[in-house]
């Protein structure tokens, strides 16, 4: 009887320990970002900064001027250009981390192919009290643009910091063949 009892207790404690181990949140999740999500129509605000996406454009060819020379960039997929307005709450901060979660769930970071374009937001500093407008440029396959979420943070892989997720409206997307990015935006 006693042996049966101790075997039963061992099995129960093993089950409890296995359950504890399986449900322990991993370190990466404990120190992960503090996420705020919202829709495109709203201003999505975290504790450090807020963002509003004004327009989303799908573009075949991007054109801009660099040192007086025209730069033209094409993609095997499509360019997706977001114009957005950022506001810092308390202190000056950059918003360098911008990722689009595509329809398949894959993560597309801002394209470095277009980081010399003017008015790119990740190259700017956001000062509190001064709304900062600019663009984020992504390159992704056409089918990934069917469902998109823009994720913004101070830098990539934020830890215990704001991360804003903005779900994008499909019917607001403008398709264009060619987009010239000027000094003052689009």
């Amino acid at each position: 009887m006693r042996i049966v009892f101790s075997i039963a207790m061992t099995i129960v404690s093993l089950a409890v320990l296995a359950a504890l181990q399986a449900t322990t949140p991993p370190y990466a999740m404990l120190t992960g970002p503090i996420k705020t999500t919202g829709r495109q129509a709203d201003v999505v605000a975290g504790t450090m900064f807020s963002a509003r996406v004004k327009q989303v454009q799908k573009v075949r060819t991007l054109v801009w001027d660099q040192f007086g020379r025209a730069v033209e960039r094409q993609s095997s997929g499509t360019w997706v250009v977001f114009s957005a307005e950022l506001q810092a709450m308390r202190e000056t901060l950059p918003v360098r981390g911008a990722t689009v979660i595509g329809a398949s769930g894959r993560l597309y970071r801002q394209s470095r192919r277009a980081d010399s374009a003017p008015n790119v937001l990740s190259a700017k500093l956001v000062q509190p009290g001064l709304p900062t407008t600019g663009i984020f440029i992504f390159e992704m396959p056409e089918e990934e643009t069917r469902d998109m979420e823009l994720v913004l943070s101070r830098q990539y892989g934020p830890q215990l910091e704001d991360e804003l997720g903005i779900r994008l409206e499909q019917n607001g997307i403008v398709s264009r063949d060619r987009l010239e990015i000027g000094k003052n935006g689009l």
Binding site: P26, R106, P141
Partner: protein, 199 residues
Amino acid sequence: MLKAISRKANKALLAKVLAGIGGFIAAAISLGYSLYEKRQADIIPQVAAAAPIEAGRWKVSLNAGAIGSELPNGSRVSSGKQAIVIDMTLENLSAESSNIYRDLVRLQGIPNPPMPQYYLVRDKDVLWDMQPMMPEAVKAVWQVPADLKLPDVLKVKVDGAQFKPRDNLYAAPGWFSSGSVAQVALPLAKTPVVTEIKP
């Protein structure tokens, strides 16, 4: 009394012998397994040029090799150097934009090979992130000393990476090296050497 003692001694001896046999079996299994692993690791499949190679995180096909003195972005290599240029098609199979392709292709038979610089053929510019599901034609450039004698057929190894949903340290998802997955014998074409124009 004496009998009991001798039985006890026999029992102790038996236990020792059994433990010894167990130890030997463990050592033999471990040795056999490590020999087997070593042999398995030595067998790297030979892949033809231009055939796609699945390397976990990347899908790559090595299309052609060349020796030249000009970089894909149009500039000249630094003096005293020559460039080994490999044309490839590269695709990011992971779920995230990534620029960790530097260790993907390793040249064999070249002492202290430098880190390659990748160029995007579409832009004739330095390659940064590769986006998932967007294969691109790229060129990788290794700058080696000009007096280094290069073989006609260059041997190249492709290193794989393997995804772990929970790594051992942070229980975070990540990609980890999984050894060479393929080797390719790539003929090196010689492009005409541009004579240097001194200003």
